[in-house]
């Protein structure tokens, strides 16, 4: 089960992140989770939003380079031990995680995972009883 993520190309120049967030704010789009990864040349902003399709359209209309992709969201208790355990299952099954980011609401932690094989994530989750959540569940957090 996957959820939609939005990736945005960010040139490394001051104020660009604010511009992008401003565009989304204008369109009443809520940000559930966000992470920025960057190199010396450029960065990529990754977002889970309240309406990914709409967010993509408004960014496109504002000539911002963006892309939608599928990621998986898991929930667990927000302790380091639980995190480690979750990741360990994937390593054990030989599934490499391209990147991961998370946020927490007190006791609960939410992990957003990007892997090369989302179907395999489902299988691993079933096997080890991991708690995959739907887009709807994530949005109501």
């Amino acid at each position: 089960m996957t959820i939609k993520q939005l990736s945005v190309f960010l040139e490394n120049k001051s104020g660009r992140l604010n511009e992008v967030l401003g565009i989304l704010g204008q369109a009443d789009i809520r940000i559930i989770a966000a992470t920025v990864a960057d190199t010396s040349e450029y960065g990529i902003l990754r977002l889970i939003t309240s309406d990914t399709a709409k967010a993509y359209e408004v960014l496109k209309a504002n000539r911002v380079s963006a892309q939608q992709s599928d990621v998986v969201a898991l929930t667990c208790n927000s302790t380091a031990a639980e995190f480690a355990e979750q990741m360990d299952y994937f390593t054990r099954e030989g599934l490499s995680v391209e990147y991961m980011y998370c946020f927490s609401t007190g006791e609960k932690a939410f992990l957003i995972l990007r892997t090369s094989d989302n179907a395999m994530v489902d299988a691993i989750a079933r096997k080890y009883g991991l708690d995959i959540i739907t887009e709807k569940e994530l949005l109501s957090v």
Binding site: F9, E11, E41, Y42, N62, A66, Q67, E98
Partner: protein, 435 residues
């Protein structure tokens, strides 16, 4: 059987006869030119007479004529016939200083129309065709130039002129237009509006041929136009100083433009050293008129960059071909002794589907070394994977190096960051102190 050539005896003339004709006409042209105030001084000072020219190679001993010469002798300093022989002039606007003016006699207009008719016939137009010209009329030579040429051919010629796209489309349908002359960007515009109106150029019109020119464009853009309209699109080359359209034109082989060598002598020179370049090498096109009497031009530096395509053309025409225009020599820059043209870089960038159409080339001195930086806008983000973005950057860099022989620094930038592609976007910024 329908003849392939409008003027077979000229178009397929043996090279040796063609060169004999060129030499004869060159001597006449110099004789005529010497009657103008400008050339009587410029050539007279050097003691040049028609008899100074024994072979075509002797032309190289004559000085170049530049746009600046036309400007500083504005308007009639190069006119070589009495006022009663001059029947028309065309002028091109100058952004700086005087405009340039080209004067024509009745003979000149007839020769010009003949060349245009020859071009249109070459790509299959006949007296039963309906030719719609979307050029601006008036001072701009693309209007009257094509009008008289298409009329001479016998085609029904619609002087639709520029603009009003909905009306153009109505004409295309009502008059059964089979051929259009348009600049490439306007051809795309026509197609867009047709689509909005629910008209298919393939099924709802009789179009077979598009003549495109006056604006540099790539092979990929031409194929796009052909695909959109379901027609053949042919590249046209001309300039007001050389009368207008009809200087060189593609034949059905669509591999280079035959330059009419009975009317012009062409040379390709290195724009820096001004030395002639062998066939096949890119440089500045220099033209000498051979059949113009009101205002002959000797070794005129066109500023257009192209090359002579070596070898014979399968169509049977013996007039040599030039390649599509690769840009202006003013845009050329030199890095580490290599001549680089923005069009070379553009051609490579356009091959990457991940990229947008805007780019900027910056040349600067870094640690006493000349460096080229190419910034290019991304299209829609195609990946959110760094390694792929890095691979893309590497691929672009490698292909550019193969083309320009210098390793550029490539930067992907966000859309909308660089100057817009419309109009005359600045493509090269040269920040070096010593160029």
């Amino acid at each position: 059987m329908d003849n392939l050539y409008f003027q077979p005896e000229i178009e397929t003339m043996e090279r040796s006869s063609l060169e004999t004709l060129q030499l004869k006409r060159l001597k006449e042209s110099i004789g005529t030119a010497l009657r103008s105030p400008f050339y009587s001084t410029r050539l007279g000072k050097l003691g040049i007479t028609p008899d100074s020219i024994r072979t075509l190679g002797d032309l190289r001993r004559l000085p170049f004529t530049t746009k600046e010469d036309l400007r500083s002798n504005y308007p009639f300093g190069l006119v070589a016939v009495p006022a009663d022989r001059v029947v028309r002039l065309h002028s091109s606007s100058g952004t700086t200083g005087n405009p340039t003016v080209i004067c024509h006699s009745q003979h000149d207009l007839e020769c010009w129309a003949g060349r245009v008719a020859r071009c249109l016939y070459m790509v299959g137009l006949r007296n039963t065709d309906v030719f719609q010209n979307t050029s601006g009329y008036g001072m701009f030579t693309g209007g009257l130039g094509f009008q008289y040429g298409a009329e001479l051919l016998g085609a029904l010629t619609v002087p639709a002129a520029a603009g009003n796209t909905v009306r153009q489309i109505k004409f295309i349908r009502d008059f059964g237009t089979t051929a259009i002359h348009a600049i490439p960007s306007y051809a795309f515009r026509l197609y867009e509006v047709m689509r909005e109106m629910g008209i298919s150029p393939r099924t709802d019109t009789r179009l077979t041929t598009l003549v495109i020119g006056a604006e540099p464009h790539t092979e990929a853009q031409r194929r796009k136009i052909e695909e959109a309209f379901g027609v053949k699109a042919y590249n046209s080359f001309g300039m007001s100083e050389m009368s207008g359209p009809g200087v060189a034109f593609e034949c059905p082989c669509q591999n280079g433009l035959h330059l009419w060598e009975d009317c012009y002598i062409m040379e390709i020179i290195d724009p820096e050293t001004l030395e002639p370049l062998p066939d096949g090498e890119v440089g500045e096109l220099v033209l000498t008129t051979l059949d113009r009497e009101a205002m002959p031009l000797i070794r005129y530096r066109t500023r257009d960059l192209t090359r002579i395509i070596p070898g014979e053309c399968p169509c049977g025409r013996t007039h040599r071909r030039i390649d599509r225009i690769k840009g202006r020599s003013d845009d050329m820059f030199i890095v580490k002794g290599v001549n680089i043209f923005p069009m070379q870089i553009e051609k490579i960038l356009m091959q990457f589907r991940e990229l947008g159409t805007n780019y900027l080339i910056t040349v600067d001195t870094v640690n006493s070394n000349d460096e080229v930086m190419v910034e290019v806008e991304l299209g829609d983000l195609f990946t959110d994977d760094y390694s792929q973005l890095q691979r893309l950057t590497r691929d672009i860099t490698r292909q550019l190096k193969d083309e320009i022989l210098v390793t550029p620094k490539v930067r992907l930038v966000d859309r909308g960051t660089l100057p817009q592609e419309t109009g005359k976007a600045v493509r090269v910024k040269d920040l070096r102190k010593n160029k």
